[in-house]
Symmetry: C2
Subunit: 150 residues, 2 copies
């Protein structure tokens, strides 16, 4: 069991951030000490790790709540319902991966094109790197399903 400060320190976030996540239903410490201190378990730690990782790849806290509630609602939701949510998130993940692949390719091309020496960077631009890409791919449709706030 970890106290709030221990867990926060381990993940380099503020205590307040953990309280914020709790207030918004993302991470509730599994127990409290006699004196009311929040006590976080290993599983709580795991959840925090998940939240922070999901954030770095562009998921909002609302998205993350949705992902986590796959667990919370398990008694209530039929497997088919879960599958719908999971598959939707999977599609989002795959879109993001495609974007990143694209970025990676462009950046690599840039990095190689750039000498790494002291010449002018005249030919070093992201847009030039992207230019070879035929770009009628619109960034994904913002499907607004009833996205409950978290």
């Amino acid at each position: 069991m970890y106290r709030i400060g221990e867990l926060a320190k381990a993940f380099d976030v503020k205590n307040d951030t953990l309280r914020f996540y709790e207030k918004h239903g993302l991470l509730t410490p599994s127990s409290r000490s006699d004196s009311g201190y929040r006590m976080y378990s290993e599983e709580d730690k795991q959840i925090l790790s998940f939240i922070l990782r999901a954030k770095t790849v562009g998921f909002s806290l609302a998205d993350i709540h949705e992902l986590l509630s796959i667990e919370v609602d398990k008694a209530n939701s039929a497997c088919a319902d879960v599958k719908v949510v999971v598959d939707a998130k999977l599609a989002e993940v795959e879109t993001k991966m495609a974007e990143l692949n694209h970025f990676q390719k462009s950046l690599k091309r840039l990095s190689n094109a750039c000498c790494g020496g002291s010449e002018s960077a005249a030919d070093c631009t992201i847009l030039e790197a992207l230019a070879s890409d035929v770009n009628n791919i619109h960034p994904e449709q913002h499907h607004h399903l009833n996205k409950e706030r978290f």
Copy 2:
């Protein structure tokens, strides 16, 4: 050339968002009409596409500005400097890709585990899917573990 409303509509953003990006140096329309309307070129469209794509994978506007200014500064910056920035961003991209790979694997496992039929979702949780992964991020500190009282 596109007027603001045309470009905004094409990418499903608000006109205000384009003005906001302009105010913050991310996307300045390449010209103005006689009456002062913003006129966006194909290249501007390209830049907007870039901005929105970068946003979906978790880059902040500040990050994006940095990426775009690789171009803007090209006369001023030595190639080596550019390479440093590019390689740093490349590392970020690769970190994000690793996270997403991980998510993808977990979600796929979930999707497969979930029957897609009407059984209970009892075994469908992100955390279970992630459980096989040993959490390793910040291995550090642990002077004392404190006693458990429950």
